[in-house]
């Protein structure tokens, strides 16, 4: 495989690296770049079907109401046009035609890597899976990784070099840069500044170091709008050195989160979710689940999973932390008073922590000030958790300095004319830098600003040069995971739009010569991979990780002169004033995903909003200010003001308004432009995460928001079954019995015998964290179209697996439940009986199949589906015009036409391939051989899928659990998809009081 792989990657035209003898190769002529010869050949060779329309088509991406004539849909009886077959020219690529292949690489967010395996269909990257050998993936991924493949094919990506907005060429840029570098060389690079995002790439860091060596007076700044400043400052406060902190959640029995969303955000999201769910486990109901206390201002995935959520203002978390610390005997001065409710919470929390020394953990959130982090470290030391559940290592980020400070300095120097050449690589500072730094205005003062980016965005507009960057699937690079483990990220396709990678640009800056990123990365690792470089390199590519590159644990000691108890308690913000909290957007993050339609349309885990952000407030506050959903309010902070619609959010801290970053983009692309409201306009560098004294005024307008769930209570229906551990242990048997008679109820009809396979699925509600990864993985796997805001607002979203979110209890402090709902594949499927044309029928393996080409669209099946999992193509939703988007699609799945019903198929294409392979080998499909997309992606492995006729299958074992129950089983639909009741582990003391 290795030599095939490398051969494939070196042989033109897939090769992302021009041959080094080709001198002029780097600065290709404009024309070459424009109609990307390489790409054209490549496409023509690999997927002829769309070779015909290569002038990449700019028709509107979300143009859903296709203008195709109604009768154009007559697939069944209109004659197919003459189609072509186009073979390879040479077979050296070693690819088996028609068979997908997987390549290991890594996606990065905030600089940190998540290892992935990318599925390539005839050379087209179409789907991303987790890499089991990668520490921060363990085979799972998150929504961002899943969606990143869509960015690759985004027709809005920048495709040409521009100078002051005019199309220009790489040569001209090269020449210009030459001149400047010459000038810079004389003054040792004084005035040369590099601004990048957070960098963990060893190669890139090394390149920049070389640059700084060559130009000693140049400077390198890193900035991410959502960064780890507080974490690093926290360790500096506590230990006097910059450290990365790792949490072994699987070893922790008691987990306390101080506004930390380790499940939904942070540099180890996926891994933390996996570890947390291990502690949650409880598929059997034997092992006692861990207990999670989570204090949060704006509800997060983590606080939603908490046995004891506590909604407090971000500013009050410090007080809370102090109280907790004091209760644990950590000298934290005399904390301010807190509410009685909080008191009991902290008392119980402290008792639990004390009782679980060494098996508990206190985690402070990235948005909390260093002081809170320091407190957390102290508590973890006091509880002997340090070294057990909490470990430390050198910072994974290269030059982990305070990014905000660094940025301030850059701005200061801009004012003092200290900057004359600024190279911005990635990021989007003009959009995302705190408003008080007025980055855009300052930028104009800089004589020469070159910017390399994936999109021609707000920043590009303010720069002299824009250089198209490569997508991570287009170029060689490397990156480190949260624990320092390094991955070589290899390209799967030549740059679609003639982009260059940061490595190539820096190679040029350093040496002034062409060097392909492939060579750059190899040259960096050659001395570092031991004697037998090639095999080490190949195994690194194959495994997706570089063996032994993980950062070792560091023994750390608290600063001796550490004095936190004499720190004055924070000025107790008076109760009348409101607090504004900035949160990363669950889908758009810092805004870099704004043009990704999958993420835009993905319902936010808690609000279930799509296509917009909103000002989230608690029900109590809404009542006091007499606000309703969709009321537009003015948020005024100092003299900055933005407007945003209100969305009432249970479990939100009272007297606080939270709004997510990442919206209000103006140059994101056709998908992201002008959506939502830009919270950066209020954000300031000294209060990057929350600010007091927010003024709110009703604007007297309404702004329509598109949500996918209008009702949040279960109306006393047994939809999500929940029990505390104790309750469960009391009547486990009973529950088991109940549900068995529910699913196996008597029926008038003789059962259909299925001696072959009998596919079934279970979903564990105890471990489902509601992250939506399944939804978007399914979207990527099954060519599910995006319908746009108006259609979502009309209740026409297309997701095959949705995650229902229910609230239970008091609106201000409710319990939150998530329930993923795919097709139940009922054995007595109500949808099938009413279909007049046999489009919805059962197959002999118990699948409820939907035959698109037979469907006439009566929609009777949807009416008759109690679970409402069926989705209808009210219009021609699947984009028939944008060629690059066609290239993204999964060739194994039919692209649905207008007027047909569709729904979850249990990834029947994967089953079919598994069946065929097994049949050819003359054996049965092995358990775990067929993995559905949702199952594969799930960070907590809440989904189990397999053959119920296989006595040894995992799914059969799980279904034997007393927790197993059928949703709406009383309807005797006999679903193949069942749920494991949710088991929570609240502290009896708290629940009692």
């Amino acid at each position: 495989m290795f030599h095939k792989l490398t051969a494939r990657l070196e042989g033109k035209p897939i090769d992302a690296t021009p041959p080094s003898n080709d001198r002029g190769g780097f600065w290709r002529s404009l024309d070459e770049i424009r109609d990307a010869e390489v790409f054209r050949d490549y496409i023509t060779e690999r997927f002829p079907r769309f070779a015909a329309h290569l002038n990449v088509d700019r028709r509107e991406f979300l143009k859903l109401m296709s203008a195709s004539l109604a009768l154009a849909g007559m697939g069944a009886c209109s004659r197919e046009p003459q189609e072509e077959i186009v073979p390879y020219v040479n077979a050296s690529s070693g690819r088996v035609a028609g068979e997908p292949r997987f390549f290991a690489t890594a996606t990065t967010m905030g600089g940190f890597a998540t290892g992935v395996l990318v599925e390539s269909n005839m050379g087209r990257p179409t789907k991303i899976e987790g890499n089991p050998t990668h520490p921060s993936s363990l085979g799972s991924t998150d929504i961002f990784a899943q969606a990143s493949v869509l960015d690759l094919w985004d027709p809005d990506r920048s495709q040409v070099v521009t100078r002051n907005g005019q199309i220009d060429t790489w040569e001209n840029f090269g020449a210009t840069l030459q001149r400047r570098l010459a000038a810079l060389a004389d003054k040792q690079g004084d005035g040369l500044r590099i601004l990048t995002e957070t960098v963990t790439s060893p190669t890139l860091a090394a390149q920049i170091d070389q640059l700084l060596k060559r130009y000693p007076r140049a400077r390198w700044h890193q900035y991410d709008a959502i960064n780890r400043d507080n974490i690093y400052d926290g360790t500096r406060t506590a230990f006097g050195e910059t450290l990365d902190v790792r949490y072994a959640l699987d070893k922790a029995q008691i987990i306390v989160s101080l506004d930390a969303d380790f499940l939904g955000a942070g540099n180890a999201r996926v891994r933390s979710a996996r570890d947390f769910s291990h502690g949650r486990g409880a598929a059997d109901g034997e092992t006692r689940p861990n207990r999670l206390y989570a204090a949060a201002s704006s509800p997060t995935l983590t606080s939603a999973m908490a046995d004891h959520p506590l909604a407090v203002r971000a500013a009050d978390i410090e007080t809370a932390a102090r109280n907790l610390a004091v209760a644990l005997g950590v000298p934290a001065g005399t904390p301010a008073e807190i509410s009685d409710e909080s008191k009991t919470w902290f008392a119980a929390c402290a008792r639990d922590l004390q009782a679980n020394r060494g098996a508990s953990v206190v985690i402070a959130g990235e948005s909390q000030p260093p002081y809170v982090h320091a407190l957390a470290h102290l508590m973890n030391h006091a509880l002997a958790n340090a070294g057990a559940t909490v470990t430390y290592s050198d910072p994974v980020v290269a030059h982990a300095e305070n990014q905000t400070t660094s940025l301030r300095e850059l701005c200061r120097d801009m004012d003092t004319r200290g900057v004359d050449t600024l190279v911005i690589i990635g990021g989007n500072p003009v959009y995302s830098v705190p408003s008080d730094l007025e980055f855009k205005a300052r930028l104009t003062a800089v004589p020469f600003v070159a910017r390399m980016g994936l999109y021609e965005d707000e920043t590009s507009a303010a720069c002299h040069w824009h250089l198209p960057a490569t997508h991570f699937l287009e170029a060689w690079s490397d990156a480190r995971a949260y624990d320092g483990t390094a991955t070589i990220t290899q390209p799967l396709i030549a740059p679609l739009y003639g982009g260059k990678s940061a490595h190539e640009l820096l190679a040029w800056l350093v040496a002034g010569t062409l060097k392909s990123s492939y060579d750059v990365v190899r040259d960096y690792w050659r001395p570092r991979l031991g004697t037998d470089f090639e095999s080490a390199w190949n195994s690194a590519l194959h495994e997706g990780v570089i063996a032994g590159s993980m950062f070792p644990q560091r023994a750390v000691a608290l600063k001796r002169d550490l004095s936190i108890d004499n720190r004055p308690p924070p000025a107790s913000t008076d109760d009348s004033s409101l607090e504004l909290v900035y949160t990363p957007d669950p889908s758009l993050w810092d805004g870099s995903n704004a043009n990704n339609a999958w993420l835009q349309e993905l319902p936010r885990p808690l609000t279930k909003l799509t296509w917009d952000n909103a000002a989230l407030i608690s029900p109590q506050l809404a009542k006091r200010l007499s606000l309703e959903n969709e009321d537009v309010i003015e948020l005024r902070l100092g003299n900055a003001m933005i407007e945003a619609p209100v969305w009432i959010t249970p479990a939100h801290a009272d007297r606080a308004v939270s709004i997510s970053l990442g919206y209000g983009r103006t140059r994101a692309g056709r998908v992201g432009n002008g959506r939502g409201f830009n919270a950066y306009a209020l954000r300031t560098s000294d209060a990057p995460w929350f600010a007091g004294n927010l003024q709110v005024r009703k604007a007297g307008r309404k702004y329509a928001l598109a949500t996918t769930q209008h009702h949040h209570a279960m109306n006393g229906r047994e939809v999500v079954r929940v029990a505390t551990v104790d309750e469960f242990e009391r009547n486990a048997a009973l529950r088991g019995a109940q549900q068995h008679q529910a699913t196996r109820a008597a029926s008038l009809y003789p059962p259909f015998k299925s001696d072959g396979y009998a596919w079934g699925m279970t979903i564990n509600l105890s471990t489902c964290i509601g992250c939506n990864a399944c939804t978007i993985a399914c979207q990527a796997e099954n060519n599910i179209p995006v319908v746009g805001k108006t259609e979502v607002a009309r209740g026409r979203e297309m997701h095959w697996i949705r995650v229902d979110r229910y609230y239970e209890g008091k609106p201000q402090a409710p319990r939150t439940h998530f329930q993923p709902v795919p097709c139940m594949h009922c054995e007595r499927a109500p949808c099938e009986v009413v279909c007049p044309v046999e489009a919805s029928v059962h197959d002999s393996e118990g699948l409820n199949v939907q035959v698109y080409n037979r469907c006439v669209g009566t929609r009777f099946c949807s009416n008759n589906c109690p679970y409402k999992v069926r989705r209808f193509n009210f219009f021609q939703y699947a984009d028939q015009h944008t060629e690059s988007l066609k290239a993204q699609r999964n060739p194994e799945v039919t692209v649905r036409m207008r007027g047909v019903m569709e729904k979850c198929t249990y990834c029947i294409q994967r089953i079919a391939n598994g069946r065929i392979e097994a049949d050819k080998a003359g054996r049965r499909i092995r358990d775990g051989e067929v993995i559905t997309a949702c199952q594969a992606v799930c960070p907590t492995q809440a989904i189990t899928f397999g053959d119920l006729n296989d006595p040894a299958s995992r799914v059969k074992a799980v279904k034997a659990s007393p927790l197993n129950y059928a949703l709406l089983g009383e309807l005797n639909t006999q679903p193949r998809t069942t749920y494991l009741a949710k088991v929570t582990n609240p502290n009896p003391d708290v629940t009692a009081s």
């Binding site: 197919e80 073979p87 035609a97 199949v849 050819k920």
Partner: protein, 216 residues
């Protein structure tokens, strides 16, 4: 009172009625023919190079798999890359006019573009490898390919055509080692042999007519 309908008028009416009926019959026939899924059965498909299976299989004696390399492993039988052609044609007929496109492709790296002979709708998923593995001969679907100077289709590829075999595979399947033999004839009764092979190759006839076997 005068007759409203004189005999002549009646006759005329009857004739015109006939004419109307005839007209509609003709129109419907024309319509059916025009939308018939595959009017091109039996008529060779125009190709950039007049490739003759007859020559390469019957005369030269190439095995199907020499060019269609992935037929046993993949859904797609595989089309020979240009260099497969050139292995011979760099020597044989090295400068025949009709091979010009092949040489051009080899030189320029531009692939040859063949017109599809067998084209299934996009919502049908056919897998060569499993059919080969279960003893469906090339000839069974592709006809006497070794006697085709230019290639044409011999099967309608309509759903009922697929079902014909999926409902009763014993009518068609042959021993695995005879799959690529274009002249194989059952030694005795096909049905008896077929039934035996269905057993032997574990062909689950019960599930062969599931919609999900071909549609996804």
């Amino acid at each position: 009172m005068a007759q409203v309908f004189e005999p002549r008028l009646v006759l005329w009416l009857k004739l015109s009625a006939l004419a109307v009926v005839a007209f509609f019959v003709v129109v419907i026939l024309i319509w059916r023919i025009s939308i018939a899924p595959h009017p091109s059965i039996g008529s060779p498909v125009e190709q950039i190079v007049p490739f003759s299976h007859k020559h390469h299989v019957s005369d030269v004696g190439l095995d199907c798999r020499y060019c269609h390399t992935t037929v046993e492993t993949s859904a797609f039988a595989g089309m020979p890359p240009t260099d497969t052609c050139m292995t011979c044609h760099s020597q044989l007929f090295a400068d025949a006019r009709m091979l010009a496109p092949v040489r051009k492709s080899f030189a320029s790296g531009q692939p040859l573009r063949w017109n599809r002979v067998h084209d299934l709708p996009d919502f049908v998923y056919f897998n060569h490898s499993i059919h080969v593995a279960k003893g469906v001969g090339c000839e069974t679907c592709h006809g006497p390919i070794d006697r085709m100077p230019l290639t044409w289709r011999t099967a309608t590829l309509e759903m009922q055509w697929c079902l014909d075999c999926h409902r009763a595979p014993e009518k068609y399947i042959r021993p695995r080692d005879q799959v690529f033999n274009l002249h194989w004839r059952p030694p005795g009764s096909q049905l008896i042999l077929g039934k035996k092979l269905v057993e032997e190759y574990r062909i689950h006839t019960s599930s062969l007519t599931d919609c999900s076997i071909c549609h996804r």
